[in-house]
Symmetry: C2
Subunit: 318 residues, 2 copies
């Protein structure tokens, strides 16, 4: 019966309340009332200890990040967050851990107005699975499959910080404290670009969130849209911290192949470039144009105006 | 990249197609179109190897049961199954296992018309989490909280078979082959009472599915509805197999406290008794009246017309 005690103490009656939740934790199912005129966007992500996070990851960060990575998927569809279920496997009942984990989870849930409507707590290896539901006006969802030749390619924020943060945890580098704090924060507390995603509806032709690294993730858009792309490596947005801590070449490798940035990559037709500038300004998110969709199926790079082939093999830790 | 290969081979483009699924596996989120006038029922269940199932459980049965236990939650709300996401953690890539698991999963999915719309496959200890979505006409969902004094208590099917099946796997008993097959089948392939649950809408005052055992599960209705109950132990439906394999007293203990029957327990006002008979006859499900809701907060039993206190302590394997 410990399962139910855990749920009641740390997860019941906490976090965001929503008027469209008719019944939450405590019955066989939760009941929610979808808004009329909207489709429901659904995604799920699992984080397994030893695979997706280290055993000593701070529980507050893990709670926050577990939800943030799911919110990032909604952001990439242009959907508004709504409801989530949490499946939590834990090897034992650690009240301190549960308190911090749930605080981190609900911090993100309240900020992004997500209601926890159900879940399942089981004894087992530490593992967190969240299934998230969002809503998006019918026909307005951002897909991966509609990028067109000539569309411009943009990304939000800066890239590569989270991957360097991970390497700091692994002890690969030692860096100055102010950079370390920033980089670990980017790794532990990614910012899902939820408002930016919604701002892109009707303007961007395609979008994806960068979870596995730019090179890998843009590949999904190219494949789904049956196009190629040219990226200007000089335009890849790199933070002061990343630029200060590693060589220029290493910084670019982190930015292009490091994962877990949870920034958005999206494509925009020439006709919507002005509108995108205005829309993202209102969303308060930095963004930059890094390339263009072209015919074919290849991903190419330029550096200083010349064709450029990044040598990712030199970075074996990826 | 093995993750994606697995998904593509065993889970993509398989199973039930639904017209209300706008986008399934392959983008950041799935997109579905909820029906107007309906609420969405959402539930999730996790099965962890070594906790919820033995390592040698046949993969086909595990795939089937993983979905069936979630469908049972929808049944208890009177909801129609619609969409599911699957989070699958596996320690290694075992093609034979994946083939059988997915065949079992899709067998249930096709029968109950559930579309697999998304998921996440990760390396880790073997663990299956399904989040299921169903739809139910607004205001018609069956809850745990509306049982009233005087309502009659019913259950579908027979109780205790699955728990004895589990004890056969544990080697607690040896029984005749024809009984063994039946009991293991009840344990491995529970029948979610999906049609029966829908038939109860507007007639039953409350409902729950029996996953933890009758005594434990009816407790949730009594607590949520703030009522008590009297159960006539002579009316508890016991299969020929269960009755043939163990003593009368043991059979009753299995039926009252054994889990994983996935039958429905529901309450019906006197005024709807005739309608319930007709409705469940059409659903093709056996059911029996086992007791009545009363004032107070206690669960009491009678046997042969006299007050009766089951001695569950004698059955330590529960």
């Amino acid at each position: 019966m410990k399962e139910f005690q855990l749920i009641e103490k740390y997860f019941l009656n906490r976090g965001q309340k929503r008027r469209d939740v008719l019944l939450d934790i405590g019955d066989d199912c939760a009941l929610v009332e979808p808004a009329s005129g909207k489709s429901i966007a659904i995604s799920c992500d699992t984080l397994v200890e030893g695979v997706h996070f280290f055993a000593d990851m701070p529980a507050h960060a893990l709670g926050y990040k577990s939800l943030a990575v799911n919110l990032s998927d909604l952001a990439a569809m242009g959907a508004e967050p709504a409801w989530m279920t949490l499946a939590l496997s834990l090897p034992n009942v650690d009240e301190q851990w549960l308190s911090e984990f749930s605080n981190g989870l609900f911090e993100a849930a309240e900020y992004y107005q997500v209601a926890l409507i159900g879940g399942d707590t089981t004894r087992g290896p530490r593992c967190i699975n969240i299934t998230i539901n969002g809503q998006v006006p019918k026909g307005k969802a951002l897909k991966r499959s509609a990028a067109k030749v000539g569309d411009w390619i943009y990304v939000t924020g800066t890239l590569g910080d989270s991957a360097l943060g991970l390497d700091l945890l692994r002890g690969v580098y030692q860096v100055a404290p102010q950079f370390k704090d920033y980089l670990l924060n980017r790794h532990y507390y990614p910012t899902p670009r939820v408002l930016a995603g919604q701002s892109l509806r009707g303007l961007a032709s395609s979008a994806i969130d960068l979870s596995d690294g730019l090179v890998s993730d843009i590949g999904h858009i190219l494949k789904a849209s049956n196009v190629g792309a040219v990226i200007d490596a000089n335009q890849i947005p790199i933070s002061t911290a990343l630029a200060s801590c590693v060589s220029e070449e290493q910084a670019l490798a982190y930015a292009l192949t490091g994962g877990e940035d949870y920034e958005l990559l999206f494509t925009v037709p020439e006709s919507e470039r002005g509108a995108i500038d205005t829309a993202l300004l209102h969303a308060g998110v930095k963004f930059v144009k890094i390339g263009q969709i072209c015919a074919g199926d290849k991903l190419k790079f330029t550096l200083d105006g010349k064709p450029f082939t990044p040598d990712f093999k030199g970075f074996e830790h990826f």
